[in-house]
C-alpha cells in the first residue's frame, strides 16, 4: 500500500500541496483527478522522492521511503524520456541495463500486445505509439506499484482503447496502479478508487463501486458535485 499522509509542498512561496492524504492499494487502480495545476504530478514526484516535501510522510508497504523503495515503484512520465534517435529495441536495452527489475518476457508480451515493432525508431512513431512505448518501458519492470502521469492524454481514441485494455489484462497482474487524469470518459469502469483534488487538497476519496452501490452516483456525478459546489 502507498500511504500519503498530510503532505505539504511549496515551490518558493507558492504552496502546491496543502496537507494531502490518501492511500492506494496493491491490486487496485486509483485515479488522482483534478483540473490541471492542482498538484497531481507533484504528488507523483513526491512519492518517487524526486521532489522533497516540506511536511508529512509517505509510506510504501508501511515503510518510509528509502533507496530500496524504488525497486518496488516506478513512475511513468507523461512523455517518453528516451532519445528520438533510439529504436524501440535500444530503449528496451537501455532499461535492461539500468534496472534489475526489467522483465524481458513481459516486455516482449507488451510489444505484441501493442503491435509494436522493436526495429522502429522512436522519432518515426505516431503519438499514440510513442505513448505505448513509454508505457511498455515502465510496465515491463517487476515492481509492486506503477505511477502513470496522464497515460490517456493527447492520444487518439484507438490508442486510448488499447492502453485501457492493458489495465484489464494479466499484464498488470496484481500490481497497484495510480494514474493521474483530468478526463475520465471511457475509463470510468476501470477505476477502483478515485481521489479528487483541487488547489492542493483532497476534496474527496472514494471507491467507485461503493459509490454506485450506496449512492447511485457515477464518478462524473461526484465530480460535478464536488467541483461545482
Amino acid at each position: 500500500m502507498i500511504e500519503v499522509k498530510d503532505v505539504y509542498k511549496k515551490f518558493g512561496r507558492k504552496p502546491v500541496l496543502k496537507g494531502v492524504s490518501f492511500t492506494a492499494e496493491k491490486g487496485k487502480i486509483t485515479a488522482l483527478i483534478g483540473i490541471n495545476g492542482v498538484g497531481k504530478t507533484t504528488i507523483m514526484n513526491a512519492i518517487m522522492a524526486l521532489t522533497p516535501i516540506n511536511k508529512g510522510e509517505i509510506l510504501i508497504n508501511g515503510e518510509k521511503l528509502h533507496k530500496g523503495s524504488f525497486e518496488k515503484i516506478t513512475f511513468i512520465p507523461d512523455a517518453i524520456t528516451m532519445l528520438p534517435s533510439m529504436k524501440i529495441k535500444d530503449a528496451m536495452q537501455f532499461m535492461d541495463d539500468f534496472y534489475d527489475s526489467w522483465n524481458q518476457e513481459r516486455a516482449n508480451e507488451l510489444l505484441s500486445f501493442f503491435r509494436l515493432k522493436e526495429s522502429d525508431k522512436i522519432a518515426d512513431l505516431s503519438k499514440g505509439n510513442t505513448a505505448k512505448v513509454n508505457l511498455l518501458l515502465g510496465l515491463a519492470l517487476d515492481v509492486d506499484f506503477l505511477l502513470m502521469d496522464e497515460p490517456f492524454s493527447g492520444i487518439d481514441i484507438f490508442s486510448r482503447e488499447q492502453i485501457a485494455e492493458v489495465f484489464t489484462s494479466h499484464l498488470i497482474e496484481d500490481r497497484g496502479v495510480i494514474i493521474t487524469t483530468h478526463e475520465i470518459n471511457d475509463i470510468e469502469h476501470l477505476l477502483d478508487k478515485v481521489v479528487l483534488l483541487d488547489n492542493g487538497v483532497v476534496l474527496k476519496e472514494f471507491n467507485t463501486e461503493e459509490m454506485r452501490e450506496k449512492e447511485g452516483k457515477s464518478v462524473i456525478d461526484v465530480m460535478r458535485e464536488v467541483y461545482r459546489s
Binding site: 482503447e161 485494455e165 494479466h170 476501470l190 463501486e209 454506485r212 462524473i220
Partner: protein
C-alpha cells in the same frame, strides 16, 4: 461479448444482469464454461476486481459453479435457471407497469396495444 454499461449502477450488478439475460435467452447454456475473471474483464473493458466480485456473487447465487481448478461453468440446476427467467420477466413487467401508471393509462386500454405492437414487431423481426 459486448455490454453497454451505465455509470450509475454498480458495474458488478450490471455484469450479473448481463449473464442472467444470456442465460434466459439460451446464449449461455447449462454447464457451459465461462471466461476467466481476467478474460471477462478484458472482454467487457472493466476492472478485474469488478469481474471477480461479479463471479463471487454469481457463485453465491448458484448461477455458476466451480469444480477444483477448472473454469467456472453455468449452473445446471433447473430451479435456478427457471428462477432467472422469471426474475427477468417480472422486472420487465414491473418497469412496464410503472411507466404506464405514471401516465395514468388504464390497463384495458394498454393490453390490446401491447398485443398488437408485440405481434407487429415480431413480424418485422425486431425482437
Amino acid at each position: 461479448m459486448n455490454v453497454k454499461f451505465n455509470n450509475r449502477d454498480p458495474v458488478y450488478v450490471q455484469v450479473i444482469r448481463h449473464f442472467k439475460e444470456q442465460i434466459a435467452k439460451g446464449v449461455l447454456e447449462p454447464g457451459q464454461e465461462i471466461p476467466s475473471r481476467r478474460e471477462l474483464a478484458n472482454q467487457l473493458k472493466i476492472n478485474p476486481n469488478t469481474a471477480q466480485r461479479a463471479y463471487k456473487e454469481m457463485e453465491e447465487q448458484g448461477l455458476i459453479y466451480t469444480e477444483g481448478n477448472l473454469p467456472s461453468k453455468i449452473t445446471k440446476d433447473e430451479l435456478v435457471l427457471k428462477g432467472v427467467r422469471k426474475e427477468l420477466i417480472m422486472e420487465a413487467v414491473e418497469t412496464f407497469i410503472y411507466s404506464v401508471q405514471s401516465i395514468q393509462v388504464p390497463l384495458e386500454e394498454v393490453l390490446d396495444l401491447v398485443t398488437e405492437k408485440y405481434q407487429k414487431s415480431q413480424e418485422e423481426g425486431n425482437v
